[in-house]
Amino acid sequence: MTVLTVDLDAAEPPYEQLRAQVAGHIATGALRPGDRLPTIRALAGDLGVATGTVARAYRELEATGLVTTRRRTGTVVASGTTAQDDTVRSAARDFAGLARRHGLTEVEAIDLVRAALRGGPGPATGR
């Protein structure tokens, strides 16, 4: 089952956490084109956050073309989106497992990936 988690104590705002996770699920193929997302009210109710938080996450996803919102069908994964190549996906899964084994938090693991993508040596995790 595809799930979304929000940490209200995290430095990252809840809407960004949601946006990043939905984008990640689309990239990994856990959410496929045409899959319906919960309504704003439903997801906000399940997570106990304001509807504006979910609405902003959906708005940003829509702005990047990952989802589309229509009156009758609600918010669905856009048809143009495709999951990443199997090799990249597999590497991401391997990296996630490695990060977990080394006790990295999600934020630290993502910071490493971000730094690697920008060509730097990566942040010091202190571990």
Binding site: M1, T2, V3, L4, T5, V6, D7, L8, D9, Q21, V22, G24, H25, T28, G29, A30, L31, R36, L37, P38, T39, R41, A42, L43, A44, G45, D46, L47, G48, V49, G74, R89, A92, R93, A96
Partner: protein
């Protein structure tokens, strides 16, 4: 007029009492009692409580309306009862536990769809009642409660007739019922889901709650449609007869007498509304379709 004055209130009483007694049985349905653990049991208990409380509220309100026995409370009574039942069910829906803690998780799955048949009946019955009320207001005499025809040297009148005196309060009550039902449906949609292990019971509870709201709203509206159609149809058919018997110049011969034709058509509407109300009481699933196979988690 004298026979109608006696029979109409009696029929109105029956029109209110019989369907609402049936509501007691139908709306009071909960989920089956085959609970697997405490979370499951608690969810089923909440559904049962909501059903029983909304039925209890409807029964008490029915007794009050019948005790008042006046024409206006009888005209808007069913809609008022519907509003109270919907509000009671909605308030109880808000008592489900809310997410706690700083780390919160939700499954990416849409809510189960609302029962389509009940949705259509609710929208259709509300539209029909609005049309009946507007038509009644257009045709009624200035007093808002009778049908009158005047011609040179004579006049004829029949009452009761759903003019503005009954239709205006009914339209206001219908608007309140629409708003209350919309609030109720939104509350059910936004109610926090149970944990993923109880996905099916969560979906069942949600579908049952949605069906309860739609059923209460639709049946109370259909009862009003039936009552208004009967009263208006009787007045129109009797007016047609009176005009012919008095050889009024405005009298028309069947089958081109629009008053008589409209009266019979309204009897048809009344019959259809009663049948649909009875069908609606028994309609609506209490179980959601089984959830689709869950996708594998990837990173979480």
């Amino acid at each position: 007029m004298s026979v109608l004055a006696v029979v109409a209130p009696l029929l109105s009483l029956l029109a209110v009492a019989v369907p609402l007694l049936l509501v007691v049985g139908a709306v009071g349905r909960g989920l089956p009692r085959d609970a697997s653990d405490e979370v499951d049991r608690a969810a089923r208990r909440r559904v049962r409580t909501a059903s029983r409380v909304s039925v209890g509220v409807a029964v008490v309100a029915t007794v009050v309306v019948l005790a008042l026995g006046d024409d206006l409370p009888l005209a808007v009574g069913p809609l008022g009862i519907g509003v109270l039942a919907v509000v009671a069910a909605t308030l109880l829906e808000r008592s489900w536990p809310r997410p706690a803690g700083t780390v919160r998780t939700a499954a990416v799955r849409p809510r189960p769809a609302a029962p389509r048949f009940l949705q259509r009946v609710w929208v259709g019955s509300a539209a029909s009642l609005a049309v009946l009320c507007l038509g009644g207001m257009l045709l009624s005499a200035p007093d808002g409660r009778s049908l009158e025809v005047h011609w040179a040297g004579g006049a004829a009148g029949h009452s009761p007739f759903p003019g503005w005196r009954y239709s205006l309060p009914a339209l206001v009550a219908l608007a309140v019922l629409v708003l209350a039902t919309r609030w109720g449906l939104r509350t059910v949609e936004g109610r926090p889901a149970l944990d993923p292990a109880h996905e099916q019971v969560d979906a069942d509870a949600r579908v049952t709650s949605t069906a309860r709201l739609l059923r209460a709203a639709a049946v109370s509206t259909l009862v009003t449609v039936a009552a208004f159609a009967y009263v208006a149809g009787s007045a129109l058919a009797q007016m047609a007869q009176t005009l012919r018997m008095n050889q009024a110049p405005v009298a028309l011969a069947p089958p081109f007498d629009w008053r008589q034709d409209l009266g019979f058509a309204l009897f048809g509407v009344m019959t259809a509304a009663v049948v649909l109300a009875l069908v609606t009481l028994g309609a609506g699933p209490t179980r959601a379709p089984a959830p689709a196979a869950a996708a594998d988690p990837v990173l979480r």
